[in-house]
């Protein structure tokens, strides 16, 4: 069975600084996708970034980037130039290539200090 582990329950970053959130996963599949979802206080889950396992190049979306280490089954999220609006729960998630069902980690609560 696939699992997703986020070992940091809480993280804190100063506004304008950079923070990295960690995620590891376990799977025997070769075709899969990895995601980071953001859950602000409104509770709505919002996709931040997505990575295809077959792509070696790390995904980037503006201030958000990932470090995808396939052999190590590691998928960390880097947030650059942190903003107050980045404060939220961040969930790492996995899905098999053939299906859209997501397996989530437990989440990391990110606080941004002004």
């Amino acid at each position: 069975a696939q699992t997703v582990t986020q070992s940091q329950p809480e993280m804190s970053v100063q506004e304008a600084e950079t923070v990295t959130l960690s995620c590891t996963y376990d799977t025997s599949e070769s075709d899969y996708y990895l995601f980071w979802y953001k859950q602000p206080p409104s509770r709505q889950m919002i996709l931040v970034i997505r990575q295809e396992a077959y792509k070696q190049q790390n995904a980037t979306e503006n201030r958000f980037s990932v470090n995808f280490q396939k052999a190590a089954k590691s998928f960390s999220l880097k947030i650059s130039d942190s903003q107050l609006g980045d404060a939220a729960m961040y969930f790492c998630a996995y899905s098999r290539g053939s299906q859209g069902n997501l397996i989530f980690g437990k989440g990391t609560k990110l606080s941004v200090k002004p």
């Binding site: 979802y37 709505q44 299906q99 859209g100 069902n101 997501l102």
Partner: protein, 115 residues
């Protein structure tokens, strides 16, 4: 950007009662999902739905649960006889396609409290 709409935002019910949680997915989406999040725990997959039938369901989705798309716009989750442990935030999601890379659009959730 189009949104997934869930109603009600909060639902309080007595143990043993039936509840129906409602969702309006994005209009041109074909795949629909329910997830739940017990307070302080991870978000868990319940069920996926396509072409008016269940595509996949988790172990959590037992006979107490059912889903339905009663018309062209709504997607509902019914819990037949609620238990205390059903208290959770329930999220509806939809996507255009089914492959694993599809972006899921989530609603804001329904907080269910079973007393």
């Amino acid at each position: 950007e189009p949104e997934v709409t869930q109603t009600p935002s909060h639902q309080v019910t007595q143990m043993g009662q039936e509840v129906i949680l409602r969702c309006v997915p994005i209009s041109n989406h074909l795949y629909f999902y329910w997830y739940r999040q017990i307070l302080g725990q991870k978000v868990e997959f319940l069920v996926s739905f396509y072409n008016n039938e269940i595509s996949e369901k988790s172990e959590i989705f037992d006979d107490q649960f059912s889903v339905e798309r009663p018309d062209g716009s709504n997607f509902t989750l019914k819990i037949r006889s609620t238990k205390l442990e059903d208290s959770a935030m329930y999220f509806c999601a939809s996507s255009w396609g089914r492959t694993g890379g599809e972006k899921l659009f989530f609603g804001s959730g329904t907080q269910l409290s079973v007393l």
